[in-house]
């Protein structure tokens, strides 16, 4: 029996205190869970709360385990599985460097335009594009840049929010 692997986006509200991120990461490495991406920043400075967004994948039982394990960490206030809670927006920001000249350079600019990527740095033989979008869109853009002189990529990982009035 093969179990289906599910991809889940989970938001975790945590006390903004030293060691919290180490606890979360330690949980994943110690128990052998997948992390596809992880972002963290303070979101409510008054309450000293940070939001961790993480994307993980695994069989159903493991995903449930991950949430339960996260929830029992002492500085964790709330664990929300956005994939389960309903429609949500996922965005990622990427910086992409493409080195080249001639037709390839022109082609990269055309594609960037289609993907609504901005040129944030430009020299005679290089571009740095900035783009935001769903991880899939970022992946597609990167794939297209590969033959055109892609040399370096820096990505933030996913940030996510529920659609509509509802919040976690």
């Amino acid at each position: 029996m093969t179990e289906t692997i599910e991809r889940h986006t989970i938001s975790v509200l945590v006390d903004n205190e030293p060691g919290v991120l180490a606890r979360v990461i330690g949980l994943f490495s110690g128990r052998g869970y997948n992390i596809e991406s992880l972002t963290v920043a303070e979101v409510e400075s008054g309450a000293a709360l940070s939001r961790i967004n993480l994307v993980t994948s695994g069989p159903r039982m493991i995903i449930e385990q991950i949430k339960a394990q996260l929830d029992r960490l002492v500085p964790v206030h709330q664990v929300s599985d956005l994939t389960e809670e309903g429609p949500h927006i996922e965005r990622e920001l990427a910086l992409i460097k493409v080195v080249g000249s001639g037709e390839a350079r022109a082609e990269s600019l055309r594609i960037a335009d289609i993907f609504r990527a901005h040129v944030v740095d430009s020299e005679s033989d290089s571009f740095v594009f900035e783009m935001t979008g769903k991880p899939g869109k970022v992946n597609a853009f990167i794939r297209l840049m590969e033959p055109l002189g892609l040399t370096e990529v820096s990505r933030t990982g996913v940030v996510a929010l529920l659609r509509g009035k509802k919040s976690i």
Binding site: P18, G19, Q65, A68, R72, L73, V74, H77
Partner: protein, 594 residues
């Protein structure tokens, strides 16, 4: 706790605050070992007389002693150690307490704040090292935070699923002066994000009762969670089990949650559990897991674990549910509270046992009839089972607590000692820490000075923390130790015999000490015996001799623990052993599994 007006707003240093907070929290004893970073705290301890300090001889001993203290009382065990090596020596005990859900607060010294990160003398990244082996840990940054953190730590250690909490204390913080107001924090203060659920979901309880009441081949399976919930949970469990008339088995950690002498008790389950308990788990139609976590020693091969049953699991820790074994109904809450709720919903039974239940009991009695723990004490070599049987018989009328080390003797103790109530049995279940039992017994004795405390030991394990005999002498703790001495790391030898072609690689204990002389060198007493007819007298002498005592009982060196479900096998593949005419199978395919 009321705020006392005369005490408000005192200016005292961090060390004094610590001692005052601990006293406020009702702490009576600290197990510890001094060093540079904690000297100010030791100074504060010196100046007061509310809290007793038990000086150990190795920090690991302090942790296990605190575990024994905690497990036998239901209270939080408290430890104080210095920075660097003091903290690293504590790691095994913390990991042990985490695995077995024992509430501890461990205060560790740390180098002054401004030196942290500079590889200062006796600096270790204690919060980093202990993060994965504590329930939570703190590095205290300012003296103002101290009282809150100490109270929080006690709350976290004992609330929900208990566990160890480390508070790392830089030396400048414990020397700094700050404002201290008694009664600012109480045990009700809790924590701003950690609030474990204790009250169960009613609908889940109803659904569980539906299954329980209509079960035809039910079994209760209870574990250490019942003990952590408190003695009332054991009482409720006992009532529940008796009223239903269903069979019950206990995990290693759950021994004592149900009276072992009762006919409905099938003994321990798992790798070395009884045949009837494991078969009943395999063949049941409804399994009711109460404060037990489906550990791999219990389940055997997961894919074959009790395939036909509906499973109900009650646990306070949501991460314990559906971790190894998917269950049909899970109830999150305090297991004692849940059992009370279940009892309230149990219909008044009219006409005795149902026909199905009678059939089920007939089947169980047939399994029981195999008499899986049978052994033959013949000839003039002492069988370990015989020694334990006699130990049980000669102590059962007494107020007695048992601890064990880890290995074969531990399994035999679990099989042959019988516990009628909780908190009487202390063993390292989850981590399986050799060297646990001796210091744990010391902690139990501190908590119960008038009681008989016996550590059942293997000679290899005992060597791991034997130094605590010195602590026992100093603090007049008359712990009794009975060594089932096979001159082997017996459990290792057993696996080598069964799964490694009898290649006894490094499992023989060469150059063992003379344990009697060893005891005497500490100022304690001992006796060494090798004949079955000497067993009773040796046990009586051990009990009657004042002070710590070591009874070195030379046993059959080649005895193996049976029954046995080999690692990775299914329950129905259980081996009963040579006394049952079953061949001892020697296969190497069990090798990869632990």
């Amino acid at each position: 706790m009321a705020t006392s007006a005369d005490n408000s707003g005192e200016n005292i240093n961090g060390s004094e605050m610590i001692v005052r907070c601990l006293a406020e929290l009702g702490v009576e004893v600290i197990f510890g070992y001094p060093g540079g970073a904690v000297l100010p705290i030791y100074d504060a301890i010196f100046k007061q007389n509310k809290i007793r300090h038990i000086l150990v001889r190795h920090e690991q001993g302090a942790l296990h002693a605190a575990e024994g203290y905690a497990r036998s009382t239901g209270r939080v065990g408290v430890v104080l150690v210095t920075s660097g090596p003091g903290a690293t020596n504590s790691v095994t005990g913390l990991a042990d307490a985490l695995m077995d859900s024992i509430p501890l607060v461990c205060l560790t010294g740390q180098v002054p704040t401004h030196m942290i990160g500079n590889d200062a003398f006796q600096e270790a990244d204690t919060v980093g090292i202990t993060r994965p082996c504590t329930k939570h840990n703190y590095l205290v940054k300012t003296v103002e935070d101290l009282p809150r953190i100490i109270h929080e730590a006690f709350y976290i250690a004992s609330a929900g699923r208990p566990g160890p909490v480390v508070i790392d204390l830089p030396k400048d913080v414990v020397m700094a002066e700050g404002d201290y107001q008694e009664g600012t924090y109480t045990s009700e203060t809790g924590h701003r994000s950690y609030r474990p659920r204790t009250e169960p979901d009613n609908a889940a309880v109803d659904a569980a009762m539906e299954l329980i009441v209509n079960a035809e081949r039910p079994i209760f399976y209870s574990g250490g969670g019942i003990i952590n919930s408190g003695p009332a949970a054991s009482e409720a469990l006992t009532r529940f089990v008796r009223e239903t008339g269903y069979p019950i088995t206990n995990t290693l950690m759950g021994l004592g949650t149900y009276p072992a002498s009762d006919a409905q008790f099938l003994g321990m389950l798992g790798m070395h559990g009884t045949y009837e308990a494991n078969m009943a788990m395999a063949e049941c139609d409804v399994m009711i897991a109460l404060g037990a976590r489906f550990d791999d020693r219990v389940t055997g091969r997961l894919s074959d674990f009790s395939k036909g049953s509906k499973k109900i699991q009650v646990d306070i820790d949501p991460s314990s549910v559906n971790k190894n074994v998917p269950v049909d109904i899970s109830i999150i809450g305090d297991v004692g509270t849940v059992i009370d709720a279940m009892l309230a919903k149990l219909p008044n039974k009219s006409g005795g046992k149902s026909a199905a239940l009678e059939d089920w009991w007939r089947q169980i009695e047939a399994w029981r009839g195999r008499d899986c723990l049978r052994f033959k004490q013949h000839g003039d070599i002492i069988k370990p089972q015989y020694a334990l049987q006699r130990l049980y018989e000669l102590t059962k009328e007494r107020d007695v607590y048992f601890t064990t080390e880890v290995g074969q003797h531990q399994m035999w103790a679990a099989q042959f000692l019988k516990f009628e109530e909780p908190n009487r049995w202390m063993t390292s279940g989850g981590l399986g820490t050799m060297g646990y039992g001796f210091p744990a017994a010391m902690g139990v004795q501190v908590a119960h000075p008038e009681s008989l405390v016996i550590n059942v030991a293997g000679e290899a394990s005992l060597m791991m923390n034997i130094q605590e005999l010195s602590s026992m002498m100093q603090h007049r703790l008359p712990v009794k130790t009975i060594i089932l001495n096979n001159e082997y790391m017996g459990m290792v030898r057993q696996w080598q015999e069964l799964f490694h072609g009898g290649r006894y690689s490094e499992s023989y204990m060469d150059s063992l000490p003379d344990f009697v002389k060893l005891a005497e060198s500490f100022g304690a007493n001992g006796i060494k015996i090798s004949k079955p007819e000497e067993v009773d007298d040796a046990i009586r002498t051990m009990i009657e001799t004042p002070g710590p005592f070591i009874a070195d009982v030379l046993i059959d060196k080649t005895e193996n623990v049976y029954p046995m479900i080999p690692g990775g096998a299914a329950h129905y593949e259980m081996k009963l052993g040579p006394d049952h005419g079953e061949l001892e199978e020697k296969a190497e395919d069990g090798m990869v599994l632990v």
